[in-house]
Amino acid sequence: MADTPSVLVIGGGSTGCGIARDLAMRGLDVTLVEKGNLTHGTTGRMHGLLHSGGRYAVSDQASARECIQETRVLEEIASHCVEETGGLFVKRPEDTEEYFERKLRGCDECDIPTEVLSGREARQREPYLAKDIDKAITVPDGAIDPFRLCVANAVSAENHGARIETHAEVTDLLVEAGEVVGVEVRHQSGKGTRSHGAAGTIEEIEADYVVNATGAWAGQIGEMAGVDIEVRPSKGVMTVMNVRQVDTVINRCKPKGNADIIVPHETTAILGTTDAEVDDPEDYPEEQWEVDLMIDELSKLVPKLQSARTIRSYWGVRPLYEPPGSGTTDSEDITRDFFLLDHAERDGLPGMTSIVGGKFTTYRMMAEDISDHVCAKLGVSATCRTADVALPGSKNYRVLEDAMDDYGLTSPIAKRSTQRLGSRAEEVLSITDPNPVVCGCEGVTRAELQDAIGQAGTDLNAVRIRTRASMGNCQGGFCTHAMAQELHPEYDAAQSYAALDELYQERWKGQRHALWGEQLSQAMLTYALHATTMNRDSDPVDREEAIDFSAFDDGGDAATGTDTRTTAADGGAHGD
């Protein structure tokens, strides 16, 4: 056994990145492999709510207590990822008084601070709330950027010596003498950051212990070693509005139900959600009725939503789990608690533990639990420090925000940049080269993109989640090509265009669910810019047949009056 015990973490979501950070900070030799981008699975497809615990205060008080506790931690260690918006549970006339009281009492029992507002007071705070909202309970809900949080955890892990490999899919578990001893991964474009067009490679990575943090995909990893992990993936839709109709998280104060939350997120508001069990976490229907339900139901809380513009919808898959034999039929009733499955105890397969269930807000606590477990297995006595040490970008962030120079950027741009970068802003933005804005909707500058490209290589979707570039109103219509141009000359022309095609297609994917009214108009404009002006849909480089350039107009010799036109060009044909 090597001097430093080695751990391999499978899955680059919030849990996996949290575990990698935790173990790396405890001095272990950590490698994390993720088959897509960081956040590629469930983390990147959540609604961005930082739970105060209010949502679970009646049905699941243990979860509620964990949520309020972890919310407080994240406000400290991840301040640049969190917006302390506050939240409201609003009661409509048809929602019961009894449940309102239970919610209030439940929050109280879980130490979640509340206040009761009259309908009028609630509307003073959020003017677009429906006129018939009776009353509301305030809770300390917040908004969180899951992308930034996940990346910050990964960067912290790397700073503590971890190796993070994205686009590295586990193709097999290495089992020797009945024990998991590592994994075989396929690197899509070799080791390190992604580079479009580079050849794929296979690598066997041995480790003293393997953690399966793949959430809804945990069963697929388990299968590779012949163990059953019965995750029950449940899909939910999120519909993104183009502006923030509300600045506070709005929850509907009623027992479980679809379409009961609006989360202000960056420049947008996100409507959520549905809860329906699916067979395959990567292949399930994304349906029109779900989008319509979000708009129609949540318009009862904020009527303005009925005619507001949505820019896209996306679906996420919850990694719900319940112990065998529980037999819950409605996925909404499955616990949000998390489970640590030690396959040595459970299946007689030592060397690996899976973590399933749970929720985003408590990712750090889950990571702490499993890290404790792994350390116990490996005989390491180091303790967890993740609750006390700020994530990269978060340190002294508020102080920094006050003192920020503008780095030559116009003020709103500087503000947006520093919100995203936190205390890393100085390091990223203090460059002397020209630093124009590349994404106008989100105010993302070249320096910020270059910083992200340094982390993500040619993967523009990974650049996107780090910067928000291409995530605004135009959904990339005006900037995807400019983002791809930022890859050159570090990467070659063919890679830049391949990366552009991939990003453009990804942006299209979510917009398909928002194609009416303003956003259909926007989509047509984007299509026209990329197809008509830039001819990206019929780019000769992508076509098999070579163009015979000599057959086309070469400018002729207009000066000598050469006229090769078959008909008169003297304008005589019209107007008479």
């Binding site: 030559g408 022309a493 830039m534 849909d537 000769p540 400018g555 002729g556 207009a558 107007g575």
Partner: protein
């Protein structure tokens, strides 16, 4: 009391302007009302006629060879090749020597800011020296603070497409101190004004030329992003060419597009010259009809509903981008006259999953008869004196075909002439 004219054109883009001038040339008194800024300034300024067939074959060398094979209902099929020619002739008259390409029926391949070439029938004279079928070597010059055109990348992409010349790209700092993030028009105005910089007598154009000279390696032509002047583009280009000692051309850019803005300016001058009355900024909010005839349209003039009566009407309000075609979750409509717009009832059939798929929404629009009168679902004209032109028409995908300007010119010409003749 209604404001009266022979022909009323609703919409101020390329199709509406063409229709208005075409109607005026037939002797009619024409008024053009438009609400918002036309989409011309979003567009490259290139006048495409047909670059690809609806099946995606192409690039087409001669659009007129391909027009005959277009499917029934396509705007070109409705108006026929003669109207396409006539529309182009009308455009050539208006554009004069600011556009080229009318010496041949063949398309030109113009390098664009994304690096790909695209087929087009007419092109601003500022782009003429940049054609991809011209065998002379080219240097592309980009500016550090102007995103969207990466000259070295575009040059490599031209080579990858097999362009018959050597292209090289360089990126330079514009020779005037600029904010981090200057607007496209800022570059154009600095070049227009050509003020001395650095306290000397050397102007901006000369300074830029000298920067480029240091990077030139015998190339016979030099391409810049399309920011070479707003008010004085020709002078800017001539000066740069003289100082550099090579031909100078522009590479068309996305919005806001200087070539598009220049064309818009020229078109509005032409409207004036043709004696068309122009009103901008007021929306058409309704209409009155008597049987199958439109009697008047209602214009909202700062809160007052004012009727405008005419013998003939031309609807040229644009497509989805210009809002001449609008939609909500339930369906797609033509909002001014509520003309029939064919559409799948399920909005998830409006698009394809591939970003550049054969999107049904791109072909949304009214369905006209051969006199360009929008027809109802049963194939009968909605009104006897209402015609439609430009991208409010359906049954074609201008983005995929590269046919937007050509359809606007051909149908604008045709609708305008028929309206003018019908009204006088």
């Amino acid at each position: 009391m209604a404001i009266e004219q022979d022909v009323l054109v609703v919409g101020g883009g390329l199709a509406g302007i063409t229709a208005a001038i075409s109607a005026a040339e037939s002797g009619a008194h024409v008024r053009l009302v438009s609400y918002k800024q036309p989409t011309l300034r979003h567009a490259s300024g290139l006048i495409d006629v047909l670059g690809y067939t609806p099946d995606g074959e192409g690039p087409i060398v001669d659009p007129f060879d391909a027009v005959e094979d277009l499917p029934e209902g396509h705007p070109y099929e409705r108006v026929g090749p003669a109207a396409i020619e006539a529309g182009l002739d009308l455009f050539d008259d208006i554009a004069g020597d600011t556009y080229e390409g009318n010496h041949t029926d063949r398309n030109a391949l113009v390098p664009t800011h994304g690096g790909a070439v695209k087929p087009t029938a007419r092109y601003p004279d500022s782009t003429a020296a940049g054609l991809a079928s011209d065998g002379r070597d080219a240097l592309l010059v980009g500016f550090e603070r102007l995103v969207g055109f990466d000259a070295p990348l575009a040059a490599k992409h031209l080579a990858a497409a097999g362009a018959p010349f050597d292209a090289r790209g360089v990126t330079v700092e514009f020779p005037v101190e600029l904010s981090a993030d200057p607007k496209v028009t800022r570059f154009a105005h600095l070049l227009d004004q050509d003020k001395p910089i650095g306290g000397g007598t050397r102007g901006v154009r000369r300074a830029l030329a000298e920067l480029v000279n240091g990077r030139l390696d015998g190339e016979a032509r030099v391409g810049f992003p399309a920011v070479l002047g707003d008010d004085h583009p020709r002078e800017v280009r001539t000066d740069l060419a003289e100082h550099i000692g090579a031909d100078v051309f522009e590479v068309p850019m996305g919005p806001p597009s200087l070539p598009g803005i220049r064309l818009e300016d020229r078109l509005y001058e032409a409207l004036d010259e043709a004696g068309v009355s122009i009103e901008t900024g007021n929306p058409v909010v309704g209409f009155e009809a008597d049987g199958d005839r439109v009697e008047s349209v209602v214009v909202d003039r700062t809160g007052n509903d004012v009727p405008y009566a005419a013998e003939e009407y031309v609807l040229a309000t644009g497509g989805l981008v210009g809002k001449g075609i609008d939609s909500d979750r339930e369906g797609v409509e033509e909002p001014v006259f509520d003309c029939h717009v064919a559409q799948p009832s399920d909005r998830y059939d409006w698009f394809e999953d591939e970003a550049f798929g054969d999107h049904r929404f791109a072909r949304f629009g009214v369905d006209p008869d051969r006199e360009l009168r929008p027809m109802d679902a049963g194939g009968t004209p909605e009104f006897s004196n209402l015609r439609a032109a430009g991208s409010v028409l359906g049954n074609y995908d201008f983005a995929a075909e590269k046919s937007g300007s050509g359809v606007s010119l051909a149908t604008g010409f045709h609708a305008g002439r028929l309206a003018g003749e019908g009204a006088t």
